[in-house]
């Protein structure tokens, strides 16, 4: 059926060629020059062929049929100008020619999908068809070419004529002319609006049709304007010739756009099939990017998941990534689900419409992976905040220790010096009672100082920050309330957080052992690869406390703490 239509169209074209070079030489545009004839036939045949290609290979629905029909109707003016041809043919062609413009408008607005998008487009197409139909009926009934002073292509035949009303016919023709101009303007506005507002893939689908639309509309408008000036349509006039050539070019471009659209859709389908094949089974979370990259053969494909809570992009592992940016040869596809942005995929421009290529299964996998990425990102934030809490606490303790040292301790020292001087004075004055009071006061000051020292050390062991883990643990072992045997003790320096954690592990372990009536504690701190292994073992009764604070601290460092009845073992990352 379609093939037959196509063949009929081609036959029409060949017939047109015959007319143009023969009897229609002076009554058609195409008859005036070889170039015009070539363009006319070439563009019409091109459109018919493009329509056939689209019908047979594309997914454009009715687009192909429309194109074949438009291509056939494109030749109608030639048949009108068939000098001495059958009156019926010329009369039918005269009316058919009226439908060329509505068909082009329909084709342009419906391409590439074949469906009209939006009420405005549907209204415009309907209006131009309706108007063409009305004008065709009216002109068929009342236009007598014989009485038309402005006729040029056909001045004799109208088999449908019911009653010759030249005035009305002229009025209808004039009204039709200006209606067509308005419709052409509406078409340009509509295409321009779509170009401005459509999203990436849809806009790219529109591009092959924008230029022909503009040319066609421009030609229609120019035709009306020039006709207004000359009042008589004269195919030999250079302006009309030029307009005709522009029209032919528009039709040629339209044909090319249709073919391009079809080819592109097929390429995309292949990619789509690739994606489906590769993602036949649900990819494990985190591997979607690799799977998609393989499917579209683009190793640089990147998926950036959008976290609306924190307004940032992350990868599948929840790590922050930069906002995807457009680079030459690359395309960004924003994937939306239920109105929410899920992810932005940066991929090769060779797969222009990834959004459509991604099926429901992949979308679901994407959504799942986004959820997982969001969870991981939250986890990272939590971990970071836990580390910050520990670090802030340590910094505050250290500051407190320094404040004690610089403040209370120094004042007590100064007080002690004064007491000492005062006592020397009273001793010189032989004031024994006061001297003895001052001696007592000095003793109190000294006691206060040493208590303060113990307190400050408990708040933050300065030796740890200054000299490191080994001296600090050694001091701890020397001053412990029970024997502490140090089996092995790493000498090197580590990150402050690691040293503090290891130190507190030993300190708390020794303290805990003392409370559980242990007779001695052994401490072992060794480095094993990128891990610092800390073990504190005692011979006390079984512990009941869980040492939550220690576990928190070790956990914040991504370490591991094993609490056993009389043994603590921790692994701290120190790489």
């Amino acid at each position: 059926m379609r093939l037959a239509a196509g063949l009929a169209g081609i036959a029409t074209a060949l017939g047109s060629l015959a007319i143009v070079i023969g009897p229609g030489r002076n009554t058609t545009y195409a008859g005036y020059s070889a170039l015009a004839a070539t363009l006319m036939v070439g563009s019409g045949v091109g459109l018919i062929l493009a329509g056939l290609v689209t019908s047979f290979f594309g997914s454009g629905g009715r687009t192909g049929d429309l194109a074949v029909l438009a291509g056939a109707v494109w030749f109608a003016p030639v048949w009108v100008g068939w000098h001495n041809g059958p009156p019926l043919v010329r009369s039918v062609a005269m009316l058919a020619a009226l439908f060329a413009f509505p068909l082009f408008v329909h084709l342009i607005l419906a391409a590439p999908s074949g469906r009209l998008r939006g009420a405005a487009a549907r209204a415009l197409v309907l209006t131009v068809y309706l108007e063409a139909g009305l004008v065709a009926v009216a002109l068929g009934l009342v236009r007598d070419p014989f009485f038309d002073p402005n006729c040029w292509a056909n001045c004799t035949d109208n088999v449908f004529l019911l009653r010759s009303l030249p005035g009305l016919a002229r009025g209808i023709e004039s009204a039709h002319l200006w209606f067509t101009v308005l419709a052409a303007i509406a078409l340009i506005i509509m295409i321009g609006w779509r170009l401005l507002t459509d999203s990436g893939p849809a806009r790219r689908g529109l591009l092959p049709f924008a230029l022909p639309a503009a040319l066609l509309a421009g030609a229609v408008i120019a035709h009306a304007v020039v006709l207004q000036r000359t009042s008589l349509e004269d195919p030999s006039h250079p302006a009309f010739q030029m307009i005709f050539i522009v029209e032919c070019t528009a039709v040629l471009l339209l044909a090319a756009g249709l073919v391009w659209s079809t080819v592109r859709t097929r390429l995309q389908r292949r990619a789509d099939r690739g994606i489906t094949a590769n993602l036949g089974q649900a990819p494990p979370p985190g591997s979607l990017q690799a799977a998609l990259a393989q499917a579209v053969d683009d190793p640089e494909l990147r998926i950036a998941y959008w976290l609306s809570d924190s307004q940032r992009y992350v990868d599948a592992e929840g790590r922050p990534v930069a906002e995807p940016a457009i680079r030459p040869g690359r395309t960004l596809t924003t994937l939306v689900r239920e109105g929410r942005k899920i992810a932005v995929v940066s991929h090769t421009a060779a797969v222009p419409d990834l959004e459509r290529a991604i099926g429901a299964a992949v979308r679901l996998a994407l959504e799942n992976e986004r959820l997982q990425a969001e969870m991981l990102a939250h986890l990272d934030q939590l971990r970071a905040s836990r580390v910050r809490i520990v670090e802030t606490g340590d910094a505050e303790r250290r500051q407190l220790e320094r404040d004690l040292h610089d403040g209370a301790q120094q004042r007590l020292l100064a007080l002690s010096y004064d007491l000492r001087l005062a006592r020397a004075q009273t001793q010189a004055d032989d004031d024994a009672p006061t001297a003895s009071l001052l001696t007592e006061a000095m003793g109190e000051a000294q006691a206060a100082l040493s208590e303060l020292r113990v307190l400050a050390h408990g708040i933050y062991p300065v030796i740890l920050a200054e000299a490191g883990l080994a001296p600090a643990v050694a001091t701890l072992a020397e001053t412990a309330a029970l024997p502490v045997e140090v089996l092995d003790l790493v000498e090197g320096r580590y990150a402050p957080a690691i040293e503090t954690a290891a130190y507190l592990l030993v300190a708390d372990g020794v303290d805990d052992a003392a409370h559980r009536d242990a007779s001695h504690v052994t401490v072992d701190i060794v480095q094993n690869g990128e891990k610092l292994m800390v073990a504190v073992e005692d011979d006390g009764i079984n512990r009941t406390s869980e040492l939550v604070q220690l576990a928190d601290r070790v956990g914040a460092l991504d370490g591991r703490l094993v609490v056993e009845p009389t043994r603590l073992r921790a692994e701290l990352p120190c790489g």
């Binding site: 120094q410 020292l413 100064a414 010096y417 000492r420 001087l421 001296p471 050694a474 001091t475 412990a480």
Partner: protein
């Protein structure tokens, strides 16, 4: 005796300087950080520099670093490091390289100016001075197997005085015994602890401290 005092806290520095002056010691310079200390020490060549362990900019071990520099550059100048804290690690670090003319005292010793003056004198005599608190802590440390249990009370006392950096003569004077008696004690102690007896006074301090720390 001429000394330089380095302490970043004005109140403390003034107190130390007053006490030293009262005790008849000449304070040739007061400084508040390590670089000023090194400068003044080079300039005035004091007998001893009294150095606070915590000084700007980091308030950590600037004093120890400065002490090491002084000992390296001017071996005839003694250094007495004052610290708020009882940290054997610092004491060990100080005497590791240049044990002679180096002392480590708790800051509060300054109240007992006689102890400080004694320490200064010992430093100018080329001895080592380790704070008795540190030594008594090391000696009194809880041990699972205590090798010090084999020592008599007097021997433990002598061991402590050795660890404080005292010479045999000083120990004899402190304990009101003859130097020969002290020598006998020392031999006995080193045998019991299986320590190699060193003829070098300073190495002896180091060996004993290291033994006590392990």
């Amino acid at each position: 005796m001429r000394v330089v005092v380095a302490d970043d806290v004005m109140l403390t520095r003034a107190g130390i300087v007053r006490l030293l002056k009262d005790a008849g010691i000449e304070v040739v310079a007061e400084v508040e950080d390590a670089s000023a200390l090194l400068h003044q020490v080079h300039l005035t060549r004091p007998d001893v520099a009294l150095v606070d362990i915590r000084m700007p900019p980091t308030h950590t071990d600037e004093g120890v670093v400065a002490a090491e520099a002084i000992r390296r550059e001017l071996p005839e100048v003694g250094v007495l490091v004052l610290s708020e804290y009882v940290e054997p690690a610092y004491a060990m670090r100080l005497i590791q390289e240049h044990p002679e003319r180096v002392g480590y005292l708790l800051k509060e010793r300054v109240f007992d100016i006689a102890t400080v003056v004694d320490a200064l004198r010992r430093l100018t005599d080329g001895e080592t001075v380790i704070d008795p608190t540190i030594v008594s802590r090391l000696v009194g440390r809880r041990r699972r197997v205590n090798p010090l249990a084999n020592l008599s009370d007097r021997e433990r006392e002598v061991l402590g005085l050795i660890a404080e950096g005292m010479s045999n003569r000083a120990i004899a004077a402190r304990l009101f015994v003859t130097e020969r008696t002290v020598e006998a004690h020392v031999t006995q102690i080193f045998q019991k602890l299986r320590l190699a007896e060193s003829p070098d006074q300073h190495r002896r301090v180091l060996a004993v401290l290291e033994f006590l720390r392990t």
